[in-house]
Structures are given as structure tokens and as C-alpha cells.
């Protein structure tokens, strides 16, 4: 069909828990995009993920109000906080250490994020995750 893209919308939506409350309702509703059809499709696509994990989602919408969505993996910071059992990173990264995670956990996170990372192999992906952990004041043991 003759899709003409009108715009894109990037939202962070909790896996399996999309509903018409903000940000989904207002963001989609202002554009006339069918909110319930989006929620239904998003929740179905994320049903195998950890409920509530924040998923960056790119929605493209077309002239006839149809849409497509690309769901990315949750941010590295989400996985790192979870692995370190922390609610947030350090207030002063570099000056204080908020917690620690293991190299094995770094590898697990790298594997989970691999599809969305700009890395050629798992070692490269681990370096990216390592950098994210350091910037949050979380050391690797």
C-alpha cells in the first residue's frame, strides 16, 4: 500500500503495560493514532519481556492513521541498576561508587542489548556496557 509517512514519535513504554495514560495516551491521541490498537500490539510484542521494563519505542505514522512500531531493548542503565540491585546510579560518578556488578553480569547485559548496540562482537558490546556502568558510578568486579 502507498504509505506516506507523516511523522515519528519516540516513547519509552513499559513492556507489557502500555495503556492510555501518559505518555502513550496524549502523545498518540494528539495525532489521532488509534491508542488501543497500539497498546494491544505493543503489549503482545513485549509479552515475553520482563513486565514493566522500559522499552524505547519508535512509532511511525502514516497519512491514513495507520502506524508501525520498532521496539528496542531497555536502556543499559536499566539492566545495570537491576544487576547492581540499585534504584539509581551514583550522584557524583567518578567521585563515589554506588555499587558493583560482575564481569559475567556485564556479559549478560551485553548479550541482551546486542541487537541495539553499535558493536561487531560481544567483546565490543561489553566495552560499551562497561562504559555505561562506569558513568553511573558502578564498578565492575
Amino acid at each position: 500500500m502507498a504509505k506516506k509517512l507523516v511523522g515519528t514519535l519516540k516513547l519509552q513504554v513499559p513492556a507489557g503495560q502500555a495503556n492510555p495514560s501518559p505518555p502513550v495516551g496524549p502523545a498518540l491521541g494528539q495525532r489521532g493514532i488509534n491508542i488501543m490498537e497500539f497498546c494491544k500490539a505493543f503489549n503482545a510484542k513485549t509479552s515475553d519481556m520482563e513486565p514493566g521494563a522500559p522499552c524505547p519505542t519508535v512509532i511511525e505514522y502514516f497519512q491514513d492513521k495507520s502506524f508501525s512500531m520498532t521496539i528496542k531493548t531497555p536502556p543499559a542503565s536499566f539492566y545495570i541498576r537491576k544487576a547492581a540491585k540499585l534504584k539509581s546510579g551514583a550522584n557524583k560518578p567518578g567521585l563515589e561508587v554506588a555499587g558493583s556488578i560482575s564481569t559475567a553480569q556485564i556479559r549478560e547485559i551485553a548479550e541482551a542489548k546486542m541487537q541495539d548496540l553499535n558493536a561487531n562482537n560481544i567483546e565490543g558490546a561489553m566495552q560499551i556496557i562497561l562504559g555505561s556502568a562506569r558513568s553511573m558510578g558502578i564498578e565492575v568486579k
Partner: protein, 290 residues
């Protein structure tokens, strides 16, 4: 939870997308960022941020200057029922004898029309577009003139609205194909929701490149509501797989693109019989003469 918005407009898509990326890095972080082409013909692009707390005005002012954007319009959105608002806006579409509606309008189908249930979701073809409307009207005119499709295919079917419209008025089986597997899934769901699964077969295929599809040829009616480039590329294969005297209903092309498409189809023995332009879009009905 309150929702604050910060909206601005820019002259180009490139600068709008760059501003959108920059807004994602604001603190407090936006819960969403959108980049949209304004649908008023102005050519302007709108960038909007959604926030759960009031955005940083100083940071927004810096972004305005850096990206040569209009001053941000800030507002707190009223807490309204967005689902109801959207369903009110998604009005049914009337196209000849066909009435395309979402489930929220199921009670509005007139008795003298053929209702087709299509939710505005993850496939193109809700009827809210000049191309779909043009194809449905072209089908309505063909049928009104006594044509009966006995071997019909909807190439690039999206929601399968065109295949369903044909299946609703003619008894023979119909094929609906799309290169996009999401669209094929949506098409199957729509076909089932309209109780047409026994008449329409949905399959994934690029053009006519599918053995099941070729086995069903030649066709006496082909729908192709795609785009100019794919339409031109498809012309030889379409002609090969059509019956003499068969029709092709083509859309997805802008009015100024119609001559190029017609020229490529003339070379493949398909000639213009009917044309309708809706908004900026053209729908062509061609007949195979050789």
C-alpha cells in the same frame, strides 16, 4: 499524572529530526519526543516533547536558538479521555457501495451499504486516504458497469481492504499479498473479522514472485495500491499475469506521476480506461488490450 508539552516548528525535516534528538537529552527527560510534518501544506515540521514535569525553559530557549526554531509553545495538557477523542476522530469512510468503519462505529453501517470492519492499526489501508478511497470507488464503478471479477488479486494489500471489498460483491476466491509480513498478519486478522476467511487467501510475496500466486494467474482484476517506483517495476509481470480484457486498478501515485506510470503500462499493453484524482493522489483503471 500531568503531561506538559513543548512544541515548535522548523523549516526542514533534517533540522527537525536533529532538534528531536537534542530534546531527548534534556533534563528532566521527556517521556516522548515526536517529529511530524504539518498536514496543512505549509511544508513546516513540528517537533514536540512530552514531559511529566514542567520542562526546563532555559534549555528549551537554547535549543530554539541552536536549531533556528520558532519559540516553543508550552502547555499542560488537560486530562481528557484520549481513547474517546481518537475514536471520535476516526470516522467511517464511504466509498461508493462500501462503508469502511472501526469497531467503535459498528452500529453506524447503513443498511444499503457493504460494511467492512478495518481498525486503524499496523497496516496501510483504513480508507482514510485518497489512494484507498480511489481504488474502492474504481471498483464500485467497474462493478456498476457489469464487470464481475472471477480471478482477483490485491498486490501490496496492506489491510486487505480492497480484496475484502471485491470478496464482498463477487463469489470467487481472491488473493491478497504483501511484501510486509506484519501487513499479511493484519490482513488475515481483518479478513477473519469480516468473516471472509473462506474467500480470501493472504500470502507474503514480492510482486508476482510467489509460486502459489503465479499458479492462480491469469487474473482478470489486479489491485496495486503501492508507489510509483514499484508500480513501474511491476508493469511487465502484471501484464504477463493478466487475462486479455482484464483490469488493473493502480494507485499510490501522485497526480504528477501518473503520466510516467501510464507510459510504462502502455508499453506492456495496458491502456487507461478510467482515472480519478483525489487530493494529491491519482487512481488509474487500465484494461489489457493485447
Amino acid at each position: 499524572m500531568p503531561t506538559f508539552t513543548a512544541l515548535t516548528t522548523l523549516l526542514s525535516k533534517t533540522s527537525a529530526e536533529a532538534l528531536g534528538l537534542a530534546m531527548e537529552r534534556l533534563e528532566p527527560k521527556p517521556t516522548g519526543v515526536g517529529v511530524f510534518e504539518l498536514e496543512d501544506g505549509s511544508g513546516l515540521w513540528e517537533v514536540g516533547g512530552y514531559f511529566s514535569s514542567a520542562p526546563d525553559l532555559t534549555a528549551l530557549t537554547i535549543l530554539e536558538a541552536a536549531f533556528a526554531a520558532k519559540p516553543f509553545a508550552l502547555s499542560e495538557l488537560p486530562e481528557i479521555d484520549w481513547v474517546s477523542k481518537v475514536t471520535r476522530e476516526l470516522q467511517p469512510v464511504e466509498a461508493g457501495r462500501f462503508f469502511i468503519y472501526g469497531s467503535h462505529d459498528a452500529d453506524k453501517v447503513p443498511q444499503d451499504r457493504i460494511g467492512l470492519l478495518i481498525e486503524a492499526a499496523m497496516a496501510f489501508g483504513t480508507g482514510h486516504h485518497g489512494t484507498t478511497l480511489g481504488c474502492l470507488r474504481a471498483l464500485d464503478r467497474l462493478a456498476a458497469n457489469g464487470f464481475q471479477g472471477r480471478s482477483v488479486i490485491d498486490v501490496g494489500c496492506g489491510t486487505a481492504v480492497l480484496a475484502m471489498a471485491a470478496a464482498a460483491i463477487w463469489p470467487d476466491p481472491i488473493l491478497a499479498s504483501d511484501v510486509d509480513e506484519v501487513a499479511v498478519d493484519v490482513a488475515r486478522a481483518n479478513v477473519a473479522a469480516n468473516n471472509l476467511s473462506d474467500k480470501i487467501r493472504c500470502l507474503e510475496a514480492a510482486g508476482f514472485d510467489n509460486p502459489d500466486l503465479r499458479q492462480s494467474a491469469p487474473f482478470d482484476l489486479v489491485f496495486a495500491n503501492i508507489l510509483k517506483g514499484p508500480l513501474i517495476a511491476l508493469a511487465p509481470a502484471m501484464s504477463t499475469h493478466m487475462k486479455l480484457g482484464g483490469y488493473a486498478i493502480l494507485s499510490g501515485l501522485l497526480i504528477e506521476q501518473a503520466e510516467d506510470v501510464l507510459a510504462s503500462y502502455h508499453q506492456n499493453d495496458l491502456y487507461l480506461e478510467d482515472r480519478e484524482d483525489i487530493d494529491e493522489w491519482s487512481t488509474l483503471t487500465l484494461v489489457k488490450v493485447r
